[in-house]
Amino acid sequence: MNRNPYMRLALRRAALRTVVNTVIVLFALAPIAWGVVSSLKPANQILEVPPRFIPQDVTLEHYERVIGDKGLLFLGNSALVSAITIVFALTIGSIAAYAIARYEFSGRRILMIFTIGVMSIPIASLLIPTFTLLSVVGLINTHVGLILLYTAYQLPIVIWMLYGYFLSLPIEVEQAARIDGHTALGTLRRVVLPLSKPALVAAALFVLVFSWNDFVVAVTMTSSESVRTFPVAVYFYLGFYGREWGPLLASAVISIIPITAIFIILQRYFISGLTGGGVKG
């Protein structure tokens, strides 16, 4: 036993921390783990009493059912809408953020406050007016309509994230690029954005999580199967005559996989220090 009182205190704290963290992790992951496990059980074993965590028989029938039910089409729709939304939000967002970060113009502060302010408006409160607007301009029930809405919803947070990051970059590097003969946009593209990879990745993930998971906007603005996104498709397994737990859980698991994979792949970009060595002092 360690007799050093400080050491003992530190050990006790570390132990306590581990216990608390474990509880939090279990609490957060339990539903997902239950979902994954249950999606692999045959339909008659899912609601078995008493519940069994380890499935007796493992089957992929629910997954086959989801994929067979135009699942690939819905996944494709989600991927298309998310990808284009990310491109739009990052392109417009980076130009806007750069202008606010580096150019002096009147109303700059107000613009930034406004941008942050609109983030606090709940999307649900905008559904009816946006629905009306979208039907008037003929974009209801289209991919374009969803993409434009998602871009609009996510632009403020993208601008805000990039703005903060741009301010942290050494301005001399940008000035050097200008003096070296590159235009403002050229400097943004060839110097600022490459240096902002961590912020761009973080912003892209934000947009992705929103547009991939969005249910309420998609279910309001689309009706036909050809534009249906995956979260809406999941909802359709909550049938009128009863829940189809197997396909419902399988589709939920499918929708989690791509985002988890992308997070794991892009993890390394969160590591800062990309700007090291450019400027001295």
Partner: protein, 360 residues
């Protein structure tokens, strides 16, 4: 012709005047240093010329072309920043090539590579081309920054305290390299520094700034020997100038009286008759007097032996401290000793006590 002309250029930040109606002409191929303490307006001047900030009034020309309101990329300048401002995500070769890639029409890949390796060889960094800025030393980063500026063969070079992040030895060596570089390429160079010895050793002319105003522009020697005011006299020179407040007496053969000390000035032509003056004399113009009636009594407070020179701090009877610089092989003094000192009358400067302006 890559002359640079500032006409009546001012820049204000709110209530603060960063630069007050600057008139300055820099000749083609000239090496001019902008010298001053921080906040003096020297960096503002450079940034105005580079186009990084915009002037409130006045015009700036390069040659015949007015550039006052042009964006930086259209000015055809090259700049070396104090912190080098290398592009961290590019290799050394890509850093040096970057200005060439902005050219229209864009030069071919081979032409760019040829230029880059030529410049890199000149600067002795040819073996570093594939490295990233964070993988090379400060002195090497400095050379890359210089290379990036040289590669485009610009009309005007701007150097913003390029040596201040280097250690002392390297700084002196780079100073020589810069001078050699200027001799080779012959471009107009505008060099900002707060280090007077850099300005003095490198430049054809030095422009001294203080409080947003240009104080004096002249070749280093003239700045040193004929400072226009007390500020320039004190700022230029690696030791402080000695200043004594006193009163002028006499018509032709003038005397300077400060307390009990009296200094014979001989015949002086004064621009402005002024009774209350400040006398300025550099430490090397202070000597030990052989005959006592000619000099002032002073007590040795401290001596500093700095290799080739001996620097002596003295105290006059009035309590005023005087610095003296002498040759340690000729003079040896001990602390507490009393000596008689005199000022070389040819190296005495007289300034108006109120305005600080030179009246001799």
């Amino acid at each position: 012709m890559a002359t640079v002309t500032f006409r009546n250029v001012s820049k204000r930040y709110g209530a603060i005047t960063a630069l007050d109606s600057l008139d300055l002409e820099i000749g083609d191929g000239e090496f001019v240093s902008l010298l001053g303490p921080s906040g003096s307006g020297k960096s503002t001047t450079l940034n105005l010329l580079a186009g990084l900030i915009s002037a409130d009034s006045g015009t700036i020309h390069i040659g015949e072309r007015e550039i006052t309101h042009l964006p930086p990329e259209q000015r055809d300048l090259a700049m070396v920043f104090q912190n080098y401002a290398l592009y961290p995500h590019m290799t050394v070769a890509e850093n040096i090539a970057f200005p060439l890639e902005a050219r229209k029409p864009r030069p071919g890949k081979d032409a760019i590579a040829r230029n880059v390796s030529l410049v890199a060889e000149t600067l002795g960094i040819g073996n570093l081309l594939a490295r990233y800025p964070k993988e090379i030393s400060g002195g090497q980063q400095q050379r890359v920054a210089l290379g990036r500026a040289m590669v485009r063969d610009p009309r005007v070079f701007l150097l913003d305290e390029p040596l201040s992040n280097l250690d002392a030895r390297l700084r002196v060596r780079m100073r020589r390299d810069l001078k050699e570089l200027h001799r080779q390429i012959g471009s107009t160079i505008v060099y900002v520094t707060h280090d007077q010895s850099e300005a003095m050793t490198l430049s054809d002319r030095v422009a001294v700034f203080a409080h947003g105003q240009l104080q004096q522009v002249a070749p280093p020697r003239e700045i040193y020997e004929n400072p226009v005011n007390t500020f320039v006299a004190n700022f230029v020179g690696d030791r402080e100038t000695n200043f004594l407040d006193g009163i002028l007496e006499g018509e032709k053969d003038m005397l300077f009286r400060s307390g009990s000390a009296v200094i014979k000035l001989g015949t002086q032509r004064l621009k402005n008759a002024s009774q209350k003056v400040t006398l300025g004399v550099r430490p090397e113009a202070v000597t030990i007097s052989r005959n006592a009636d000619d000099g002032m009594c002073a007590e040795v407070i401290m001596t500093e032996l700095a290799g080739a020179e001996l620097f002596v701090y003295l105290r006059l009877i009035s309590g005023q401290e005087i610095g003296m610089r002498c040759d340690p092989r000729e003079v040896s003094l001990v602390t507490g000793e009393t000596v008689s000192i005199r000022f070389d009358p040819h190296q005495i400067h007289l300034f108006d006590q109120e305005s600080g302006q030179n009246i001799a």
